[in-house]
């Protein structure tokens, strides 16, 4: 019994080490994209018989890793701003940028909407507990700040903000566990939790909202990597887009 356990452990660590160190392709993706990205990674690995290592993090973190010269072949952040900034710094190949899908902010409320939130303005009502993303960390934090500023609600809603969460996922937990009355979060992310019946969605009027696009792009590091080129195209292919749609993302108009 003990021997089997030891052999299993050794084999397990070899396989694990193999996938980490022997990756043919290194991808950085926003933490909120994990579900569709994982499905596409598995599919691509099977079809091309290769190993992909995807690092998920907040868009700010991914940008920081790139700036430190960490190896990355394909970059898919939570908003186009990060790809464009990376392009300015000469880390991205301009021709390889594909717009993929829309990232639509919505108001997430606990199941049953206990505080009766129906609009963006409701977030300013006295006594409402609001959770937002940290404006400097995840892309949703920066966008939420801009939406409130655009609608002249920054000050009033600011008084109601009880927590600035460092990641989107933490934001979702606080809404789902009813620790806050509402939070501004990506619509696609909420569709997964909504499927499990934990949160309800209140949409933000189109003209009041700020809708982001998610791009994919090759980095200069991945220029000569054939897998990277194929993966970058695959994400934007019709097969890829159908997976994005399945997880609640809206494809960009072409």
């Amino acid at each position: 019994m003990k021997r089997i356990l030891v052999i299993g452990l050794v084999l397990g660590s070899i396989i694990l080490a193999g996938t980490v160190f022997g990756a043919d392709l290194k991808v950085y993706a926003g933490a909120g994209l994990i579900k569709p990205m994982e499905e596409m990674r598995l599919l691509f690995e099977k079809e091309h018989n290769c190993a992909i290592d995807v690092h998920y993090g907040s868009s700010g973190e991914l940008f920081g890793l790139l700036s430190m010269g960490q190896p990355c072949d394909v970059l898919i952040p939570g908003a186009a701003k990060y790809t464009l900034d990376a392009l300015k710094n000469g880390w991205i190949i301009e021709k390889s940028i594909h717009k993929l899908v829309k990232h639509v902010p919505v108001i997430a409320v606990p199941k049953g909407n206990p505080a009766h939130i129906t609009s963006l303005e409701n977030l300013a009502k006295p006594g409402i507990r609001v959770a937002l993303g940290d404006p400097k960390g995840p892309a949703i934090g920066r966008v939420a700040k801009k939406i409130l500023a655009k609608n002249r609600l920054a000050e009033q809603v600011g008084k109601n903000v009880t927590v600035l969460a460092p990641t989107v996922n933490q934001l979702l937990i606080y809404v789902a566990l009813e620790q806050v009355d509402a939070g501004i979060i990506w619509g696609d992310l909420v569709t997964w939790a909504e499927g499990e019946g934990k949160v309800d969605v209140v949409t933000i009027d189109r003209q009041k909202n700020i809708i982001k696009t998610i791009p994919t792009a090759l980095t200069t590091h991945g220029r000569d990597n054939a897998f990277a080129k194929d993966f970058n195209t695959f994400l934007a292919s019709s097969q890829g887009l159908s997976i994005w749609k399945k997880w609640g993302f809206e494809p960009c108009d072409r």
């Binding site: 973190e61 991914l62 920081g64 566990l177 009813e178």
Partner: protein, 260 residues
Amino acid sequence: MRQVSLFRAVLVFLSFLITGTLLLAIGSFFMVPSWSVVWENLQSPELLFSLRLSLWTGALSTVLVMLFALPVGYTLSRFDFPFKGCVKAIVDLPVAFPELVLGLCLLLCFGQSFLGKWLQSMGIHVVFTQTGIVVAQFFTALPYAIRIMKSTYDYINPRLEFVSRSLGYSLFETYVNVTLPLAKSGIMAATVIAFARCIGTFGTVLILAGGSAGKTDTLPITLYLNISYGNMGMALTCGIILTIVSFLAIFVFEKAEAGL
């Protein structure tokens, strides 16, 4: 004879190997950033805020932890009572718990629950506040302090307490005048470890207090936030301060242990 020395050589080699690797890992922390960046970050209001917050919450939590660790450690060491094994196991549980799990448990317990609402009606808000930081640190550090106090009391010969009792002192008088002075080094060690644990608590504080920048970000949270901002200079500066705090704590702990 030769076999024994080979055995000894291998053990010493292994000890040096692991120490060397650790030293390299900790050293690289100090080698990467430029000192001008560290110095600049050390003076930033953001870091000073989180340092001050870490120090006062850590100190307050440590005092609370010791107030509970002293009696609970003594109870577990000296008395027999029903369900003692059960109590010991539950008190110890957070040692093995991942901090994030403990954070979620506390969030559910102090959030929109019966207990949370009752505390809120008394004006005590735990979730997403600095009070929450203290609560999170308290529950994370408590089991370590209780363990150290229990083993400290275990090493104190009960005969000394019996002598005091036979001379007519009450249980309480005996505890204060005989047991506590004998447990001095253990109390010192437990306090230092509890403080280091409080300062270093990450996951529990992140979930319960929310980790909002400029409000509930203690040093480990500021470190994490700055990694997610891509601001490595500040992250490394926080790391360096935390390393120094841990180093001092372990140094004092070793000193106290030598006096046991």
